[in-house]
């Protein structure tokens, strides 16, 4: 959570042990730092405190002082007495104070948790066998710890709507809802789109959209992630897969330069969903709905699956060989990509150096939504700066090439991912130009290319990106690519090896990083790929401070200002 640079720590007593915790945090966080879980539903570190689930009740006491004199009251051993509060207090809404005593395992606490757990379950449908949340459900988890194992409830359960469409992507099962209000607070506080609320009262309270509104903002699926139970479900993922079959790999969202951290969930090589991964320096715990759809491109019908030379299908090695012949053209141009990983951009820069080719780059820009979809719609524009592929800020087209063609200084183009024909170039201009295309999907350029080399999506390879705030973050291969396809790194390394037989270029990321981090003028200096932490490394960006980045003020991540509980 937002530390204000104030990291003073205080000592509290947690279950009989004195421990140090940062000042000003709440009891749930304080206990978590020391490995003690305080179960909770409504509390979320990045939302305001509601205090309504009552699951995080703990026993709390403060050192006693004489009310008149302010002197500490001591017991017979000369130790300051603790004034235990006779009722449990909520851990989420209570902040630590020096000398505070907390019990998270006492009989009062266990008794409270068991009571709350029973109450939460009396009107819950207990339909875990058909519930999407099963396996990642907080209700299930804490029921194992604090549930009764049988029900004392012989009355009829409440009946509520089972499949309410809240918006285009979210379906609600009201019977499962435990009314924690996380989704309501998320929409109000993070997205600033007040659409959800409760109607009716007491146990009949029901979550719903306000009249005439629907949950259609581009962050609606975060409510599904936030929901501690199976009430809010993703319409896309609903009833498709049991979560325990899913393998989760850490990835980076390629939708924009925000670089939201994600988890890619797959089973047997097929991706089933994308969810956000918490990184407080980048995306808190959120991501845009649009970014979650990106995995669908993996199995898109436009996916390039076979290499070809002059529109004739061939195997990859012969395609690479014929590409190498084209690359020997002295009038070579290389069109790099802001979608490529840092390592790919580095090898491409190297290739440009070896072949003395001209380098071109196109940016892809859109509107900034003020949250996690930034104006730069590529994940790694800053990578092209750091690797030296480009020294200036790209424009949203490639008209520079047409000038070079007009000057007859280009007769061959190696294109990575971009489509020349929607970048300001016409088929006529490119008539005499040979094109080698490396990319994942068909486009007008691949149809026109002399050599087509299919490559892998960011879900099928590992690497790193540099996001809008110059944060270096790595992503891991989630699924294997289609049979016979190699990553860009292999393809470019083969080019380099064919063109310069003296120095062997490896396509191994760790080895490439040894070369990348050699230069002391580069911000990547001395960084080892294996040492890049899961939440990334902030790079020094002063060198590029005079560039006019499209993100403008949104360049650095700033969490929404929350109306958090503050105790004075």
């Amino acid at each position: 959570m937002g530390s204000n640079g104030n990291t003073s720590s205080i000592t509290i007593n947690l279950n009989g042990n004195d421990v140090d915790v940062p000042a000003g945090i709440n009891l749930v966080e304080a206990a978590a730092i020391h490995g003690t879980e305080v179960p909770h539903y409504c509390y979320h570190p990045q939302l305001s405190v509601a205090g309504n689930c009552r699951m995080c009740l703990v026993e709390m006491g403060n050192p006693m002082r004489d009310r008149g004199t302010g002197e500490p009251i001591l017991d017979e051993n000369g130790v300051q007495k603790i004034g235990w509060i006779p009722k449990p207090v909520i851990g989420c809404g209570t902040n630590v104070t020096p000398g505070m005593h907390i019990k998270t395992e006492s009989s009062m606490v266990t008794d409270s948790r068991e009571g709350i757990m029973e109450f939460l379950l009396v009107n819950h449908p207990l339909d875990c066998p058909i519930c999407d949340q099963a396996g990642e459900c907080r209700l299930q988890e804490f029921a194992t710890d604090y549930g009764r194992g049988y029900s004392r409830y012989v009355e009829r359960k409440n009946v509520k709507p089972k499949r309410t469409r809240l918006g285009p992507r979210v379906t609600l099962d009201d019977e499962r809802c435990i009314l924690c209000s996380r989704c309501i607070r998320f929409c109000q506080e993070v997205v600033d789109d007040d659409v959800l609320g409760f109607v009716d009262r007491g146990s009949f309270s029901t979550l719903t959209c306000f009249p005439g509104k629907e949950l259609s903002n581009n962050y609606s699926l975060n409510t599904v992630d936030l929901c501690p139970v199976g009430a809010l479900t993703s319409t896309d993922f609903r009833f498709k897969m049991r979560v325990w079959f899913l393998k989760e790999s850490p990835g980076i969202c390629t939708e924009s330069s925000a670089g939201s951290n994600i988890l890619v969930s797959s089973r047997e090589g097929v991706i089933h969903r994308i969810t956000p991964r918490r990184n407080d320096s980048v995306n808190d715990s959120w991501m845009a709905d649009s970014g979650r759809e990106l995995y669908k491109s993996v199995t898109n019908e436009k996916r390039l699956l076979t290499s070809s030379v002059e529109s004739q299908k061939c195997d990859l090695s012969s395609a690479i060989n014929s590409a190498v012949t084209f690359l020997q053209d002295k009038k070579l141009g290389i069109v790099g990509s802001c979608h490529s990983s840092l390592e790919e951009q580095y090898l491409l820069t190297k290739l440009a150096k070896t072949t003395k080719a001209k380098k071109f780059l196109r940016g892809h820009f859109g509107d900034d939504d003020g949250i996690l979809v930034s104006a730069d719609r590529t994940p790694n524009l800053r990578g092209t700066l750091v690797t030296g592929f480009s020294t200036k800020y790209p424009t949203d087209d490639l008209t520079e090439i047409s000038e070079a063609i007009d000057k007859k200084s280009i007769s061959t183009l190696l294109v990575v991912g971009e489509d020349l024909f929607n970048s300001g170039l016409t088929p006529d201009q490119l008539k005499g130009v040979s094109i080698i295309y490396i990319g994942t999907h068909e486009n007008a350029t691949s149809s026109r290319a002399n050599v087509v080399l299919p490559s892998l999506t960011s879900f099928e390879k590992s690497g790193s990106f540099i996001n809008r705030s110059f944060r270096l973050q790595k992503f891991k291969q989630a699924v294997p690519g289609p049979a016979g396809l190699l990553p860009d790194l292999h393809i470019i390394a083969s080019f380099l090896n064919a063109l310069d037989q003296e120095k062997e270029q490896t396509s191994d990321i760790v080895s490439i990083w040894k070369q990348l981090s050699k230069s002391s003028t580069n911000p990547l200096h001395k960084i080892k790929y294996t040492d890049i932490p899961q939440d990334g490394i902030q790079l020094d960006s002063t060198r590029w401070s005079d560039l006019d980045f499209v993100e403008k003020k949104a360049m650095h991540f700033s969490p929404r200002k929350l109306n958090k509980v503050t105790q004075n």
Binding site: V49, A50, G51, N52, C53, R54, M55, L57, P86, K87, P88, I90, G93, T94, S112, G115, I116, E118, F119, L120, V122, N123, L126, Y150, S151, R152, Y153, V154, E155, R156, N158, I178, L179, G197, F198, D200, R201, G202, S203, F204, S205, V565, T566, Q567, N568
Partner: protein, 450 residues
């Protein structure tokens, strides 16, 4: 034993309530010396008024009995934010009907009290939050405020004192929870009346619109006027130490003369109230139980003995008739004087039915914000309803008690806890009736294993 004479009422707040020649118009109020105390107040420093209220020892008449002067002391005056005064007129505790009498019959008394209080705490905006069902009350108050504004007794530059305080009547929408002060504040802000978590949202610091706010009951605010009129020390002589002033008791149930009665605190016992003031029980009936302070307070059984030590150290051994009617008396007997709603039950009452009635109220009125009250109150209602419809089980008494115990002490607001107190006390004192229900019944649902 010599029969004492019937205790005499001491009407201060309800002085004119039953006077056929008295009306709720401002002329009548002014004729009877109205608004003279407000003039007196403006001659004083605001903080001195607060001191008088503190000296008077007046305790809140809404239910919790917290000293009003102390509440004012907690007000955060240094924040620089506006200060608000709210009159809690959401009188909705079952068995209570005192504020209604004041508002309907003597609205200007409340307005005068509020203007004095607003001046004392320097509030420029004040509200009367009135329960939805008091249609007529809201109309009367609105008219009264108009009258007061015309006579420059409310609004801008009151009585030429340069003090301004607007007064607005805000009608609720029919929810018991709006009587909880933070729930009331949320409702006044236009939101769902979910009570706030405390800490940090104590109204005196972070109240209406996150500004310092004082919320007082109708009767309490009327008392402010009388405190200032007679002086804090003089007011403190009414009643008993720590139980100062008069209280309006609302007696309902099986007595001959139910109604509202204003007495000095501790001036009479529960027995005197029932048998002397209210004319005793109906012919041929005997007393079974009393709920002394609105439905939330714990029930007292007619044949119980209450023993223990009072705060001043004196030991007591009371029967139900001996319980003094003040703040501490019912509290010493393990219940509370609450909002002053005394409910008398005679031997014709089926305790399980009575319990079912109370539980239905709390299940209907739970706001649904926090888990224990939301689920617990409805569960208790379902159990007692089932018991009354011929499906009681032996284990139901224990189950009810267990559910109630799981609510107590774990809710956001005191109203949540209040939902559990009736059940706890009914089971503790009338367990035999709950168990008897099971014995007399036929088809019983069995325990459901999952």
């Amino acid at each position: 034993m010599i029969k004492k004479s019937t205790p005499k009422e001491r009407r201060i707040i309800l002085k004119h309530a039953d006077d056929p020649n008295y009306s709720n118009k401002i002329d009548c109020y002014l004729k009877n010396g109205g608004y003279s105390v407000l003039k007196k107040a403006f001659a004083m420093k605001p903080e001195d008024i607060g001191e008088e209220v503190l000296k008077s020892g007046v305790r809140g008449r809404g239910g919790a009995g917290f000293p009003a002067g102390m509440k004012w002391k907690f007000l955060d005056r240094k924040s620089g934010k506006p200060i608000y005064l709210i009159c809690n007129a959401d009188e909705s505790e079952p068995g209570t009907f005192k504020d209604r009498q004041i508002m309907y019959k003597d609205p200007h008394q409340l307005i005068e009290g509020m203007m004095i209080a607003a001046y004392a705490i320097q509030a420029k905006q004040s509200f009367i939050y009135i329960r939805a069902e008091f249609f007529e009350g809201a109309r009367i108050l609105e008219r009264a405020i108009e009258e007061a504004k015309e006579k420059n007794l409310c609004g801008d530059n009151i009585l030429g004192s340069s003090f301004c305080c607007d007064l607005v009547v805000h009608r609720g929408a029919g929810a018991y929870i709006c009587g909880e002060e933070t729930g009331l504040i949320e409702s006044l802000e236009g939101k769902r009346p979910n009570p706030r978590i405390k800490p940090p949202y104590f109204p005196a610091v972070l109240g209406l619109y996150q500004c310092p706010t004082i919320v007082n009951n109708v009767e309490t605010l009327c008392n402010v006027k009388h405190i200032l009129e007679m002086g804090g020390d003089e007011f403190a002589k009414l009643g008993k130490p720590n139980n100062t002033g008069t209280r309006i008791w609302c007696v309902s149930g099986h007595v001959k003369k139910p109604g509202y009665y204003e007495f000095e605190c501790g001036a009479l016992t529960l027995g005197e109230m029932i048998y002397d003031v209210c004319g005793g029980l109906l012919p041929g009936r005997s007393l079974k139980a009393v709920i002394p302070g609105g439905s939330s307070s714990k029930i007292l059984r007619a044949d119980e003995r209450f023993t223990g030590k009072l705060k001043d150290g004196t030991e007591f051994d009371w029967g139900i008739d001996d319980i003094p009617l003040d703040f501490d008396g019912p509290a010493s007997a393990g219940s509370m004087s609450g909002s002053g709603g005394i409910i008398i039950m005679d031997d014709t009452v089926d305790m399980v039915e009575a319990m079912a009635n109370i539980n239905a109220f709390y299940a209907h009125e739970s706001c649904g914000q926090c888990t224990p009250c939301r689920e617990g109150s409805l569960w208790m209602r379902k159990i007692t309803k089932r018991m009354c419809s011929g499906h009681a089980r032996e284990e139901d008494a224990d189950l009810l008690l267990s559910v109630a115990n799981q609510i107590e002490g774990r809710t956001i607001c005191a109203f949540g806890e209040a939902a559990s107190w009736p059940t706890q006390s009914f089971i503790a004192k009338f367990r035999d009736e709950f168990e008897l229900k099971a014995k007399n019944d036929h088809s019983k649902p069995t325990l459901q294993l999952i």
